[in-house]
Assembly symmetry: C2
């Protein structure tokens, strides 16, 4: 077993890029051939949808597994199909793992301690089901890491940190998000003149202070949007040991220059997510829909070049 941050940094070095492929399989954009196959037989609509998104994801994973370090399925696009969708989510995580990829469950979970413990066991650890001679202890989602929202403070984060320490997993806590109105709360000015996202950054760094691996990075990371490069620059300085998960590149408007401040001088410390821009690249790049995997691979290589121009070496 190896510390999560060390595994992630090693994977970034091995693949030669910090790209995270966001697996947000919006059904409307999945090629018709996959959907028609899923609709055959007597599957219910949600079963067929779940079959289609899993099949689509496998095509993406097969196409990029040897060239990216990590994938991030956003659970909303699975939960929208209920229990069947969650089954496809679990299978997606499992398939990605079988292909040597690290995984981030983008679930932004948050709750009071006793409830957070249930989430932490489900997503990162193992769950003890039944007791005595009937007891079975098993992983449920078995993701390598999860995104969290810390509005409830430390006791909602602690159960996740404990599972991370036990199972060599990681968390990424929202600091400054990529969306347009992220400033409504996150930019509010505090008594000492600092914006809230900086206080959050300090807290996140402190929560990971005792959890640093050989790479010098902690398993408590932060979500920092590519769409706010000035803010990212400030956070990077405040949080040298935290790995940033950076959304907002591509479809949300962030470019390579915007991502640059998220890296440390060692050229590490950030992974950059791209969802729509990679998995649905076949639309923009004018590939045949059935060649969506090849298009995704081409989009990864293009993004790799784009990022290489700004990452310190």
């Amino acid at each position: 077993m190896k510390h999560f941050a060390d595994k992630l940094i090693e994977a970034v070095k091995k693949k030669g890029n910090p790209i995270c492929v966001g697996l947000d399989p919006r059904l409307a954009q999945i090629p018709d051939s996959i959907k028609q196959l899923a609709l055959k037989g007597d599957n219910s609509p949600t079963e067929a949808a779940a079959i289609a998104i899993l099949e689509f994801n496998k095509g993406i994973i097969d196409a990029v597994a040897d060239i990216v370090p990590v994938v991030k399925p956003q659970i909303a696009f699975y939960e929208i199909f209920g229990a069947e969708g969650i089954r496809a989510y679990v299978e997606t995580l499992k398939y990605a793992k079988s292909k040597g990829l690290l995984t981030i469950a983008d679930a932004k979970r948050n709750d009071i301690g006793s409830t957070a413990a249930a989430y932490a066991q489900a997503f990162l650890g193992e769950v003890a089901i039944f007791e005595g001679e009937d007891e079975v202890v098993m992983p449920i989602f078995d993701a390598d890491s999860i995104t969290l929202n810390a509005y409830l403070g430390w006791d909602g984060i602690k159960p996740f940190v404990e599972e991370c320490a036990k199972y060599d997993k990681g968390v990424f806590v929202l600091a400054k998000t990529s969306n347009k109105s992220s400033g409504d709360i996150q930019d509010l000015e505090m008594k000492d003149g600092k914006p809230l996202y900086e206080i959050m950054g300090h807290l996140i760094e402190s929560w990971g202070a005792d959890e640093v691996g050989e790479s010098g990075y902690s398993f408590v990371g932060a979500v920092v949007g590519a769409t706010y490069p000035e803010q990212a620059k400030k956070l990077r300085k405040l949080m040298p040991k935290s790995i940033f998960l950076v959304p907002g590149y591509g479809a949300q408007g962030g470019g390579a220059a915007d991502v640059a401040p998220c890296f440390n001088e060692d050229g590490l410390g950030a992974i950059v997510n791209n969802s729509r821009g990679i998995i649905f690249a076949y639309e923009k790049m004018d590939f045949d829909p059935n060649a969506y995997g090849e298009a995704a691979r081409a989009a990864v290589l293009e993004m790799k070049n784009d990022l290489a121009s700004v990452i310190p070496t």
Copy 2:
């Protein structure tokens, strides 16, 4: 169709109490007879667990449906059993609805706008699956309301508000939570000397300002913990039109006096959740485990008396 706040206020008046029963079916506390039945046959461990929690919930719902207005299943205690657990969650919501209860999906969802829209459709509205002649439009969770975390600001809340307006549903946004470390972020002092939870309260009230029903209450409610009565008092003044969902009564330490500040002078404006104290009342009240429904009913009636002493009439 009727405005969510009006439905909720009407249900509170009809049942003569503002009690919300938290359906957090921790498997370890579910009576053995239910678990043994679920383990019969060739069910997988997660299937058996899901069968047990659904069966348990039905017993609770049957026992309290005629005396409480609303139930709140906490999704973490279902998701911990993966896809099977989510199926039990959907079935629990459906069963509660069939017995005339309103439902709150306690999921604390939060994300950027396009992702929040997927959650909003899944939990509150309807989901369009496939297109053209294959299209099926169907509800997935079909809860009456959901809890939300607004750290991402307005554009993560807006898609839910839109579904609420369309389907007469409601939301409860975290303002001041009941847990011990809720102050880590929520009590931070802002530039103007106010704590963050007050700013959040103002925002929540403003998000619901145009969404007020005949009852005078909005479908944008707030989560305000019973464990912080002073803070609740301030929020109640700032947010006259928001219904408070109040956790923290019972197992978390809040008593009737602590809950009192959450009500308006009309004796309305708050619903008070109790999870463990009701559903596992059989343990504390020394009932036979198989009479857990009767114990839950007795606990509700006891809580009703307790609250009656403090709610303005």
